[in-house]
Each structure stands twice: as C-alpha cells, then as structure tokens.
C-alpha cells in the first residue's frame, strides 16, 4: 500500500512489505548520517499534548535533518487548550500551518480523531495506552538489524502489557511477521488487553501468558522489557510482591541464550539492573539511537521523497 500521504495511527495499518521498505530507507539514513534538503519546503508540527522528551526530540531531530521547519508545543499548559479550546480546534489550527502533524495525547483515539479532522497526514506519537506505531517501527527495525530478520524468533514481552502502549504496539507489530512464539510476561493485573490478544489469535501467532521472566529466560531470543508502575496496583503490597519477577538482573541472565537481546522503549527506572548495560545482551541504547533514522525514513516516505 505504501506510505505516501498516509496517516500513521496504528502499526496494524501497515504490511510487512511496507515495514521492509521503511527499514531499507532507515538503514540508508543510518549509514549516511548527514543533513538533507528533502523536506526543505515542509512544515512539521509536533503537537505533544502530553509531555515527552525522547519521542519528541527524536521526531524533531529527524525533521530537522531532513530540512523541514518544525513548529509545536510540548504540553497543554500555555496552549489555548489550557484555556478550554477543544482538541479538534487545535488540530484545525495546526492543519492550517503544517504539512504533517505529529500528535501525542493522553486519550486513546486522539490521533485517529485528529486524522479525521486534518487534511494533512497525522502521525500518532502515542495515544493513551493504545498505540505508539513509530516506537514499534524502531523496535522492529532494531531486531531486523540485530538478527537480520524478525521471523522465526522467540520473543518475551515483559512488564505492563495492559497500560503500556509501547508493549501493545510491539505485540501488534510482531503479528505482521512470523515469530516462532511470543510470551506475554506480566502480573495478572497487567495482562495484555482483550483486543490485543484477539489480534494475536486472528493472525495465528503462537503465544502464551506467563507470570515471570524466569520461566522463559532460557528459551527466548528477544526480551522486550517495559516498566511495571507502582501506581497501577490498587494494593501496594501486591506491587512489592510481584516487582522482583520483572526485574532483569545479571543472575537472571545466566540462563539466557548467548545471542539473546534485551530491548526497552526507555526511559527505564529500575526494571533493568545497570550492571546489565555492559553485557552483550543489552540492545536498548542501540535501539534508542535508531529512533532518528527510522523517523527520518517515515517522514520521507509519507511526503513521498527519497534521497
């Protein structure tokens, strides 16, 4: 289907072929790191209704390296939204100024709603707990770079699978490929939502829900770790009881396959022990660096220009 002129709301809007095209171009930008004039005449709006550092800076860097002008804001404070303007009206304003709108919002469905209002393409940079397609793109690109494939590997997605949009999007992204198996590792309270599990079933992906990483550590090729937040637990004692099962330590990694790689959308708090950073398993800093080339590739493909 291609990318040109399209909205990017969910990773499920794309095919494997689309993603492979994206990876190819991201790889080009990765090895040809310089500034371009491809988007010289374009204005990219970064509408971050919810605060963000990593995703916003990565989009901003990507847009600027392509030569685009960047406008935007980073929280509702100080915008007319804080004065009671509707989200719809703010999007209409940005649509009048920009050629492409990147939206992050705390409500699920905000990006789709923005896309229905705006005439220009909208990229979802995170809507509530639902989607974070560009994160999934860079996560899958990382695996593609590290293993030369996404197919045939055993994955464990670990942590908050219920409220974490990066985890949900990563799971959705895997369903576009042919993983050998996907383990969903979470406390019972934070299991993947029914609509996420349903996609795994519809696409015939072999998956299994587990309660601790320990149970699957020796089997997996990729571990995708996300944060388990204390605030999610109505009972703090329950959090204290389970948190150890989701902490990645050197001791746990003794049982891992040599080539096993750990990914994390970052920022992390204490779910990965800092001692793990210097092991051959740690891939999360590499992954974070891929954010810019992947977003450069996405912006170029949507606008329809190639280097």
């Amino acid at each position: 289907m291609g990318f040109r002129g399209r909205d990017v709301i969910s990773i499920l809007d794309f095919t494997r072929e689309d993603l492979e095209e994206l990876f190819g171009l991201a790889d080009y930008f990765l090895s040809n790191k310089r500034s371009y004039k491809l988007l010289e005449d374009y204005v990219v709006a970064l509408a971050f209704f919810e605060p963000s550092t990593r995703t916003r800076l990565s989009f901003e860097t990507a847009a600027k390296l392509l030569g685009a002008k960047v406008i935007g804001f980073t929280s509702e404070e100080g915008t007319s939204l804080a004065k009671g303007e509707t989200f719809a009206d703010t999007i209409r304003m940005l649509d009048g100024y920009a050629d492409l709108i990147v939206v992050r919002h705390k409500n699920e469905g905000a990006a789709l709603y923005a896309a229905e209002i705006a005439e220009h393409p909208v990229i979802n940079a995170g809507d509530g707990k639902q989607h974070h397609p560009t994160q999934a793109m860079l996560d899958l690109f990382t695996i593609w770079k590290l293993f030369n494939r996404v197919d045939g590997l055993v994955y464990a997605v670990v942590g908050d699978l219920r409220y974490g949009r990066a985890a949900s999007s990563f799971i959705y992204g895997l369903t576009l490929f042919e993983p050998e198996k996907v383990y969903l590792v979470s406390p019972p309270l934070l299991r993947a939502r029914p609509e996420v599990v349903r996609v795994l079933e519809e696409k015939g992906v072999k998956y299994e829900e587990k309660r601790s990483v320990e149970e699957v550590i020796s089997e997996i090729d990729v571990m995708y770790v996300t944060r388990v937040q204390k605030e999610r637990f109505p009972d703090p004692l329950e959090y204290e009881r389970v948190k150890g099962s989701y902490r990645i330590t050197l001791k746990l990694l003794e049982k891992a396959k040599d080539h096993m790689k750990i990914l994390h959308p970052l920022p992390r708090v204490d779910e990965i022990d800092p001692e793990v950073d210097s092991t051959r398993h740690a891939a999360y800093f590499t992954q974070a660096r891929f954010g810019v080339p992947v977003r450069m590739a996405l912006l170029s493909l949507i606008v329809g220009v190639k280097p």
């Binding site: 509707t86 409500n107 699920e108 469905g109 709603y113 509530g128 609509e195």
Partner: protein, 159 residues
Amino acid sequence: MSPERASLTVSKIRDGTVIDHIPAGKALTVLRILSITGKEGLRTAVLMNVESRKLGRKDIIKIENRELSSKEVNAIALVAPTATINIIRNYVVHKKLRVEVPENIVGILRCPNPTCITNRPREPVTPRFKVTSKSPLVLQCVYCGTIIREDEIEKLLTA
C-alpha cells in the same frame, strides 16, 4: 392463552408502529431507545412477558402515530435482535421491517473506556463502533479499540 388472544387485549392501532418479538423484559429498554417516556402524549401499549411460540416469552410495543427512523431500528437491533417491526397505516400493515445489526454503529452508545477520546468533555466527537461479531454481538470502539460484549451494551446506551 394463545399469543393471538394476548395481543387482542389491546385494540388495534390505526396508524403507527408495532414492535413484536422483543425478548422478554426488554420492552422498557426499547422505549428508552425511542425516547418514549409517556410525556409525548402518544397512545402506547406495552405488553410484557406474553407467550410466544418462537421465543417462549416476549414483549410487544404498540405506538400510535409514530414511525421509526432507520437509526432507531438499528439501535433496537442492539438490544432486541429478534424484534420485528410493522408499520401500520389505516389499520393494515403497510411495511414489515426486520431489525438487523449494522456493520457500524454511530452514536447510540458511549464507549466504556473513560480515557477514550469520545469521552473527553466538550469534544465534538461521535462514538463509533465496529460490529466484529453479530452472534453473539461483539462491538469494538473504532477510536480506542475497547471490545464491548453483548451484556454490556444496555448500560452503554445514550438514548
């Protein structure tokens, strides 16, 4: 008492609508969907838990001088998928409608997810749902992806 005799206890209407084969106990929900409270002054008969050959028990509603829009018919399908609708003109059945669950539902329901964009106060966005299964009825919010099962639908009606 046969179903025919049960229905005879209410006189025939001249012009209006007869909604028959409503699952027993759902008549008041159907009235709610139609925004009929009794204050409109429409002559309305509600029969509840009458015998039915097809359903065992059923409810029937007769409303004089009121025909239904297709949006109302679709909404009835969500809570009373077995219902049949007869439009009566001059004492005879002018048109028979069978309710059918549509592919998409626009409005009518609110999304149960409090952080869905459709529940944002003052935001002019209409909830929209995709029907992912008709029997049992399963809906999915187009905006936030939340899955809604048949037994949750009634409490989400906004009508």
